[in-house]
Symmetry: C2
Subunit: 255 residues, 2 copies
């Protein structure tokens, strides 16, 4: 195990750069932090590129063998410097980003969530976690959506990225692929052509597109769906939170 006490250390500089998309692309790696998610990565046999802890005992607790894994003992100051949170837990790991996927699989089936231009990383992470809880196959991050590796997305997914597959890509191309494989495509919108979500029959095969809170799903994508759904609202609220709305529709389908 190597000791690092300075923010000027080259490794520390690399880790900190991984907080930005540019830095992650250049390194092909991203940082996860916190006990729960590092534990999850280990439980799912992810190969850890490096592990950084503020207390050497943490390695035992995590069951990490420092003869086979690159490990670093860092100071609380360094932890704060590389962390995306105000109060880091002192446990970090570096993972390769190649768990994430760009190209559309040859065979497509099951249930999928498509994110069109959703920017709030907390909402995105919550939606990935909801898709995971519902047993969905994957989530596709479309144009304008926050980066899959964004530290806030990663934190809010709480390890769900190890349970289902995450893609980033052109949603229009994905819709063509879903159609070819006879996976019914549902959009979400608020207009007279849409039907109440509860009128759609529960199904194990579907692609559901959700859009950003302000603008909804783009009209270009809505034109390519099999059916568009809305959530009837009885009160005075103008809209639901996008993650809540997504959960309501997904659990109606998989229930």
């Amino acid at each position: 195990m190597q000791n690092i006490t300075s923010n000027q250390n080259n490794r520390v500089k690399e880790w900190r750069k991984m907080q930005t998309k540019k830095g992650r692309i250049k390194a092909g790696k991203y940082v996860i932090e916190g006990w729960h998610i590092v534990d999850e990565a280990i439980r799912h046999d992810k190969s850890l590129d490096a592990v950084m802890v503020t207390d050497a005992n943490y390695l035992d607790e995590l069951n990490i063998d420092s003869t086979t894994t690159e490990t670093y003992l860092i100071t609380p100051e360094v932890a704060k410097h590389i962390s995306a949170t105000e109060t880091p837990q002192g446990v970090f790991a570096v993972l390769k980003t190649d768990d994430y996927h760009e190209s559309i699989p040859e065979k497509l089936g099951g249930s999928w969530l498509l994110l069109d231009n959703i920017q709030d990383p907390g909402n995105i992470g919550t939606m990935v976690r909801t898709a995971d809880a519902a047993g969905m196959n994957g989530v596709i991050f479309g144009k304008g959506s926050a980066d899959i590796y964004n530290p806030k997305v990663v934190r809010s997914m709480q390890g769900s990225q190890f349970h289902l597959r995450l893609y980033s890509g052109d949603l229009a191309e994905w819709l063509t692929a879903f159609s070819k494989h006879n996976v019914p495509i549902y959009g979400t919108e608020l207009n007279p052509q849409a039907i109440p979500y509860s009128s759609a029959a529960p199904t194990k095969q579907f692609a559901l597109i959700v859009g950003n809170e302000g603008n909804g799903v783009s009209s270009e994508l809505l034109a390519k769906t099999d059916q568009n759904l809305y959530i009837p609202m009885k009160g005075e609220a103008e809209s639901l939170n996008v993650a809540v709305a997504t959960g309501i529709v997904i659990f109606h389908f998989v229930n």
Copy 2:
């Protein structure tokens, strides 16, 4: 209209204190901020104790008559000082806290959401907004839950506090009152005595208790319910976000 340019001004000191629970209780007032929520307050005929803007033209846009409402022109620095956000919109109002209620109504009916020890203000605000969208009658903030007037709760409710009634109180006493009025009480938990939420029939009358993400609803309250519900999860996620879970159950009921 009065001009205020200094953070040392007594009014400014009062407004800033309203960011804390103690300050709000002492003043009997709280601050709302942002165009949307100030607009909502006006639309719902709330009596505004004061309006603070960084640009005098904003008063016209808000349709506020400064001969009948106390108005202040503040500098961007003062706005930042009294704001709970990093980038204030420059529109604030002061409201009396007596829109909120402590005592249980004599007559009880309809649908209610009870928050047991939920701390995250963003989740709370999202749940209030969801209850509003579902046309529920009110939300009751139980012991351990964030304060109703917490600036982050207020921001995240997006004005829903003007559409339904918010209470703070002892949830056990509320449950006694619901029982007396024959309103069925549902708890949420993860244990063998609970039934899948989808087995419960949709209903217009219910009291639903939700608990915090870590500990769930307290066993004391769960013992007083008519039925406890859980959301079956097919994937590997350990839990759903509490606001998403609440939305799924509420919309199952009111649908």
